[in-house]
């Protein structure tokens, strides 16, 4: 199997390792969960570390590789669908994509500017054009399919006239280019930034796109002075609860963490989120999250773009693929090979 990230699994033991190549693992027969659930488990896994996406895709098409992670670009998914050897396991997951805005720095400190920015992103063009519909529009601060999402909130649409109207109401001047930081080497991050830039150009705001390595970006988020004006951010499922998204991002007690890099502070929202965190009553929590979401959207704290659908490409002969949104992983111990 070819993977672009390493996973730990107690059910398989490391056999050989070479950082430039990858590693092999053999089945650990005495794993504590036992193997009774699987008649023909996979005995050996060969993980390869392959840098170039096209290599992975062609390997899958040829049948050299039997699976890979679910982060392939949309065009590659299309190619794989056409291949006889490959089956795409499609799952809606919980991983939202946003552009964070530094709410504490002018001009993003002005809500009208933030709304203008939110109206200037071509959501349809990006989600359905660039990403070819492999993602779902997600206008709220937590995944659509999570409980706690307010009903009927349409969010922002791509509307240049509205954007200009909002900008006209702003009380701060925009006299400098805004810096939009992206993850270096990540093509989707780049394309999203370009879509943002193209939209902002139309309302007279210039943008400078700055690629940086991920560790640099998360480091920046620790302090408000070093946090970028704007940066592209995915928030995935560490634990399946609304607090994972809206809580950690918009409750000001989390300031200094990378999720909270919008440096947003609203007393009412803080109060709602704190109460929701402490409560054990799901209905009550849901109501609190719904109200908080509406405020955050109205305040345009960040630009909310999409929720991910995961497409796990696997060789048709691999059976038993089970999906879990946490960590976007699959456990090999459920799989077998025909």
């Amino acid at each position: 199997m070819a993977q672009q990230q390493r996973r730990r699994s107690g059910s398989y033991a490391l056999e050989r390792y070479d950082p430039a190549v990858g590693f092999t693992a053999v089945r650990f027969k005495d794993h504590f969960l036992g193997w009774g659930h699987n008649q023909s488990p996979i005995e050996r896994i060969d993980f390869r570390s392959v840098r170039e996406t096209t290599s992975v895709v062609l390997g899958l098409i040829k049948g050299d590789f039997h699976g890979t992670d679910g982060f392939l670009p949309a065009d590659q998914i299309d190619r794989l669908r056409k291949s006889e050897n490959v089956r795409i396991v499609e799952q809606e997951t919980m991983r939202i994509f946003t552009i964070q805005l530094n709410n504490q720095r002018a001009p993003m400190s002005d809500v009208h500017v933030r709304r203008a920015i939110s109206y200037a992103f071509d959501y349809d063009g990006f989600n359905n054009g660039v990403l070819k519909g492999t993602v779902v529009r997600n206008p709220v601060p937590l995944p659509n399919n999570m409980w706690g999402v307010p009903k009927g909130v349409k969010g922002y649409t791509y509307d240049i006239d509205q954007a200009k109207a909002e900008l006209a109401k702003a009380s701060v001047k925009i006299d400098r280019p805004l810096r939009l930081h992206i993850v270096a080497g990540n093509a989707q991050s780049e394309q999203a930034a370009t879509v943002m830039k193209a939209g902002l150009e139309k309302i007279g705001i210039t943008v400078q796109i700055v690629p940086e390595p991920w560790p640099t970006l998360t480091g920046r988020a620790q302090k408000v002075e070093t946090t970028p004006d704007m940066w592209t951010l995915w928030v995935s499922t560490l634990y399946a609860d609304p607090n994972n998204w809206i809580g950690e991002s918009y409750n000001s007690k989390y300031w200094g963490t990378w999720k909270s890099s919008s440096w947003y502070k609203n007393e009412r929202v803080d109060d709602l989120l704190e109460r929701a965190l402490r409560s054990r009553d799901q209905a009550e929590r849901a109501k609190a999250y719904e109200e908080a979401s509406k405020i955050v959207v109205d305040d345009a704290a960040s630009v909310f773009i999409y929720n991910t659908k995961e497409y796990g490409p696997f060789n048709k002969r691999v059976k038993g693929v089970r999906f879990c949104p946490v960590g976007s992983g699959q456990e090999v111990r459920w799989m077998s090979f025909e």
Binding site: T24, S55, E212, P213, P215, T216, A221
Partner: protein, 335 residues
């Protein structure tokens, strides 16, 4: 004796140049940046963290003191720590070296084995169709971006025809390790499938790296052979009735070989420089790809170490080539 004197003179030239290159990398990493400590500490470091880094690395000392310390570290083989992997850079460097070495040698083979005969033939058949075609090809070869040619070769041979893999060094795990050069190891251990795989993976990268160098070699060889053909000695031999084939084999080729050795230094420089983009295109896990990864991760220490390494190798190769040239063509020692 003459050889010894020459060698000593060249060494005398070598040392200051090496020192100069170390000074250059020092200047780039310590003098140019507004705050080298901030670069080392990373973008997000607090002022206290930066100050600590500055003290730890002695970056608050005057430049001359820093340089002496830098020199001492380099002399001990300590190239610093990678900002990204946090391992010793010399460790990473030695680990990635065999892949680049294998690729460079393969490209060298392509360059020399194809380049010299083509150059000789082109000169012997001057102004023929072959000659014009070769000259056109070399001019074109020097105008093509190596990274683009690599991608186009991939497009044709790997993606469309499926004759070669897209990239990487090997499919499957390496043969038993002796030299870390897969082709050699596979041969030595009789691991035929690994041999086939290694050669298959080497084909496109070696071509991509070798062809621009080949263009240079063909040009030089052709010029060298033309010079020799028109020299009085050869004209005399032909006038005396010595058959052309004998003259070609005995005299022309030998002199062509000498002129080629002269260019080896230049060729090696082209190969070293080219390895960065070629390894990137073909996902070849050598020093070039390591350098590019370091670029993406802003690992300044690694980039500096790479620069220094390449310079040292280039200087060393040129020195060896000079010595070799001297051995082969003693007339030059008069210079």
């Amino acid at each position: 004796m003459r050889l010894l004197l020459f060698a000593l003179r060249r060494v005398a030239w070598l040392a200051p140049t090496l020192l100069g290159v170390v000074a250059l990398t020092f200047a780039i990493s310590h003098v140019i940046p507004a705050d080298p400590a901030a670069l080392l500490a990373g973008e997000m470091a607090s002022p206290e963290q930066i100050a600590r880094v500055r003290a730890e690395h002695g970056l608050d000392q005057p430049a001359s003191v820093q340089f002496v310390r830098y020199l001492g570290r380099i002399a001990r083989g300590d190239l610093g720590r990678s900002l990204y992997t946090t391992r010793d850079i010399s460790f990473d460097l030695v680990r990635r070296l065999p892949a680049t070495l294998e690729l460079t040698l393969a490209a060298m083979v392509v360059t020399v084995v194809l380049g010299i005969p083509i150059g000789v033939l082109s000169a012997l058949r001057r102004n023929s169709l072959l000659d014009h075609a070769v000259r056109g090809a070399t001019i074109a070869g020097l105008a093509i971006a190596a990274f683009w040619m690599g991608i186009m070769l991939q497009l044709l041979f790997a993606m469309t025809l499926g004759w070669t893999p897209l990239g990487g060094r090997l499919t499957g795990f390496p043969p038993r390790t002796i030299t870390h050069l897969y082709v050699l190891d596979a041969l030595l251990t009789g691991d035929w499938s690994a041999l086939g795989s290694a050669l298959n993976h080497l084909a496109l990268p070696a071509l991509t790296l070798g062809i621009p160098a080949m263009a240079t070699v063909v040009r030089f060889t052709r010029a060298g052979v033309l010079d020799v053909i028109n020299s009085p000695y050869v004209l005399y031999q032909r006038a005396m009735g010595v058959p052309a084939s004998v003259v070609v084999w005995k005299y022309v080729l030998r002199n062509a070989a000498i002129s080629t050795i002269t260019q080896l230094g230049l060729v090696f420089g082209v190969l070293l420089a080219g390895s960065v983009v070629v390894e990137t295109v073909f996902d070849w896990p050598g020093l070039g790809l390591w350098a590019v990864n370091s670029i993406v991760m802003s690992d300044y220490n690694a980039i500096m170490a790479f620069t220094l390494w390449v310079a040292v190798v280039y200087i060393a190769i040129n020195f060896l080539v000079d010595v070799l040239h001297l051995l082969v063509d003693p007339r030059e020692s008069a210079a």
